[in-house]
């Protein structure tokens, strides 16, 4: 029994680690290795290429634009989805007779799939028959005008992520000790003060968790452009992974595709590291 003690934690970890080794690390390390070679359209390694593939991708205006698009998308989608969810969580925090009804409503988007959501928004965004233009009285071509396409797409993503974020934030806010809020009430603190001075510090670990995961999820997003826009109009909705997808499956250029994937990975890594460094400053663990 004592002997088992030392390796015991590894035993519990082993299923996950073995799985990751086989289905994530092995293929990805292989991909990283391949980025230093020229790979032909039928997947055969042809010659050592050094950093050529990286240079080629990083000088491709289409990829540079994809990096920019991804940044825009992440900056629009990640914070907004958390912010809206936070407002909803504060709203739903107070228990009422019907609170379970609107709690369900607020979190329902979590149960929606990307493709069904994409279909619904495609109709609503339609410039002629779509609900959104009819309600707003506008004639905007939401998904087919380079000015609006990325914003429209980010909005879909925000909508889809509200539910998930809301659920976590609500649980966190309800975990804030009642005394703290009461003492704030006694001090006559405004709602805004209560949220920023009492609630936010207390739920910062949850917010941190949501920021981390949504950054990673959003940087490697490709589903919406694949379903809705094929990266258009004028390349305005091509994300980094959509670029990779197109190079690999549309053009059979694995050189570009693999290098783009590794660069995207590095971006995600940097974003995660930055958010971890903020964790030290801004996240309060009780």
């Amino acid at each position: 029994m004592k002997k088992l003690g030392k390796i015991e934690p590894y035993i519990y970890l082993s299923p996950a680690l073995i799985y990751f080794a086989v289905f994530s690390f092995y293929p990805f390390l292989r991909t990283i290795g391949l980025t230093f070679f020229t790979v032909s359209a039928d997947g055969k390694v042809k010659a050592f290429a050094g950093l050529d593939n990286y240079i080629h991708v990083l000088t491709d205006p289409a990829f540079l634009r994809s990096i920019w698009n991804t940044l825009v998308y992440v900056i629009l989608a990640s914070p907004l989805a958390i912010f809206i969810a936070l407002i909803l969580a504060v709203l739903a925090n107070k228990k009422t007779r019907i609170s379970s009804i609107y709690e369900t409503m607020f979190s329902l988007t979590m149960a929606m799939s990307m493709s069904v959501t994409a279909m619904i928004f495609k109709i609503m965004y339609n410039p002629n028959v779509g609900l959104i233009n009819k309600l707003l009285g506008t004639k905007i071509n939401w998904l087919n005008d380079a000015k609006y396409a990325m914003v429209s797409m980010s909005f879909i993503s925000v909508w889809m992520n509200i539910g998930f974020n809301f659920l976590f934030l609500l649980a966190a806010i309800r975990g804030v000790p009642g005394e703290l809020l009461e003492s704030a009430d006694i001090d006559g603190a405004s709602l805004y003060k209560k949220v920023t001075k009492v609630i936010l510090p207390m739920i910062s670990p949850t917010v941190f968790f949501l920021i981390c995961t949504s950054l990673a999820k959003n940087i490697i997003m490709a589903g919406l452009p694949i379903i809705l826009t094929e990266g258009g109009p004028k390349g305005s909705t091509s994300t980094m992974i959509y670029y990779m997808y197109k190079q690999a499956f549309g053009n059979m250029s694995y050189n570009d595709a693999y290098a783009a994937a590794v660069i995207t990975f590095i971006f995600t890594l940097i974003a995660t590291l930055i958010s971890f460094s903020f964790e030290k400053k801004g996240v309060h663990y009780s």
């Binding site: 359209a41 410039p127 071509n141 087919n144 258009g232 004028k234 549309g250 053009n251």
Partner: protein
């Protein structure tokens, strides 16, 4: 006689509709549709016997039934049409030879899946036969298991589809390095769709649609309706991407290959030629007139629906959409189709054949290969093409079928399809979408540049140079990595 035939046709159509209607959920093969197919059988059989030697001796390939897996990318009603064709085969020709075909949907891009399997070296899971878009041919013809109809015709065994029956244009679409690589199957051409009611209202002759881009520009001027500065009905809606552009440029003069090596059909395409031979500029010169009208909508949002809602008076789309438009428009207004307006009035090239063909693979069993070959030919045969095309809206690739009464009846009842067929038969077979391999990139380049041109963001020369240089850059990159 004619009346009898049309009655018979109507009966068959009702029966096949019933077969579709009976198909609810669950099972892939239901008894109902088999029964219906058998009722149709006598007619199909009699035609077969005419074409072949007496049915006395058994044609069975082997004692046990041979199972053939058939991958396709047909969706919705087209998928139903294809399943009906497979069921018919299993009940008629398949029964004679002892072949059972099982179709299965493999996503919208079968070439992508084949490519993944090929790269993983997983030949075991390859299908016997597969429907692929023409752009996939150069890659697929390089697979170890690939067997071309060219080789099978050269062997001369078990031929049920005479090679001459395939229309030359369709054959050329699937020809790579002088080898017929697929049997054409679901084909289409690009058409001008126009609203006859709006034509009349604008004082245009609804039976005389524009024949050139310049005429089209004039028509757009008259058809466009405005409410103040806001366009309420566009004269024309089309987004010029690779498909549209190569059809226009390809049809200039006698014909135009678009790229070197016969547009990639004689070997790897390494550059575009429409810049150096001036054909792209000629096209842009004409296209500028369309843009100048102010009644041209250069992006497609829901082109079918907008045409059906009379938000655009003309639209340029594949003939494969005729069926969908019939559904959408119903009896709301009169509309028609016409050949794609030419770049110059003197052009003789015509348009390219779009769509998919059927490729086959040798999985190591001689009997299985024979069975696959028979089914591959069946799909290009008169019966299969008639059943499939009338239910899906594609245009038959079988020359002989056009001589039959049933096809003539169908065309008389569906005048919209006539323009597509006439255009196909009048086109030069050398007018084709090029095998440009980096198709995705070329498509986005053309799309972006043409939209920028149409929206007045860049002039003609810039557009021209950008398209030529960017396409050549992408092609050069590909050649650098993949040249032998």
């Amino acid at each position: 006689m004619k009346r009898f035939i049309s009655l018979l046709m109507a009966a068959i159509m009702i029966l096949s509709l019933a077969a579709c209607g009976a198909k609810d959920t669950g099972e892939v093969k239901e008894p109902e549709s088999t029964e219906t197919a058998q009722e149709v059988q006598p007619e199909a059989d009699s035609q077969q016997e005419e074409a072949q030697e007496p049915a006395e001796e058994s044609k069975r390939i082997s004692d046990a039934d041979i199972e053939i897996s058939f991958w396709h990318h047909m969706e919705g009603t087209n998928a139903n049409a294809l399943e009906t064709v497979c069921n018919n085969f299993n009940d008629t020709v398949g029964k004679e030879y002892g072949i059972i075909v099982t179709p299965s949907f493999q996503g919208t891009n079968t070439a992508e899946k084949l490519n993944t399997l090929a790269q993983a070296g997983d030949w075991v899971n390859f299908p016997d036969i597969c429907q692929v878009a023409s752009a996939g041919i150069p890659t697929i013809s390089g697979y170890d298991l690939f067997v071309s109809p060219e080789e099978m015709y050269a062997k001369g065994e078990n031929i049920i589809l005479p090679r001459e029956s395939i229309i030359a244009n369709n054959a050329r679409t699937f020809t790579y390095k002088d080898e017929l690589c697929a049997i054409p199957f679901s084909n289409s051409t690009i058409l001008l769709y126009y609203n006859k009611g709006l034509f009349e209202a604008a004082g245009l002759d609804p039976e005389n649609p524009p024949k050139t881009i310049a005429e089209m520009a004039e028509a757009i001027e008259k058809l466009t309706q405005k409410d103040g500065d806001e366009v309420t009905t566009y004269g024309l809606n089309v987004q010029v991407k690779r498909y549209q552009l190569v059809n226009w440029v390809g049809g200039e003069g006698e014909y135009n290959f678009i790229g070197d090596n016969e547009g990639g059909r004689a070997g790897l395409m390494s550059k575009v030629t429409f810049g150096e031979d001036g054909t792209l500029m000629t096209y842009l010169d004409e296209w500028e007139k369309v843009i100048a009208t102010g009644g041209y909508k250069p992006v497609e949002d829901n082109i079918n629906e907008e045409f059906a809602m009379e938000l655009s008076a003309m639209a340029i789309m594949s003939s494969a959409r005729i069926g969908k438009l019939k559904d959408l428009i119903g009896d709301e207004f009169e509309w028609g189709t016409a050949p794609l307006p030419k770049v110059n009035a003197s052009d003789k090239g015509g348009t390219a054949v779009g769509g998919s063909g059927i490729v086959m693979f040798d999985k190591g069993d001689a009997d299985e290969l024979t069975a696959t070959w028979i089914f591959q030919q069946y799909l290009g045969g008169e019966d299969a093409q008639y059943d499939f095309c009338t239910a899906s809206g594609y245009i038959p690739m079988n020359k002989d079928l056009y001589e039959t009464e049933k096809m003539k009846t169908y065309m008389a009842e569906n005048p919209e399809i006539v323009a597509a067929v006439d255009q196909l038969l009048a086109s030069n077979p050398n007018v084709q979408e090029p095998f440009d391999i980096v198709t995705g990139d070329i498509n986005s380049i053309i799309d972006e540049e043409m939209v920028a041109f149409a929206q007045g963001e860049q002039d003609k020369q810039t557009t021209h140079d950008n398209i030529v240089n960017k396409c050549n850059q992408k092609l050069a990159d590909y050649v650098k990595v993949n040249a032998e």
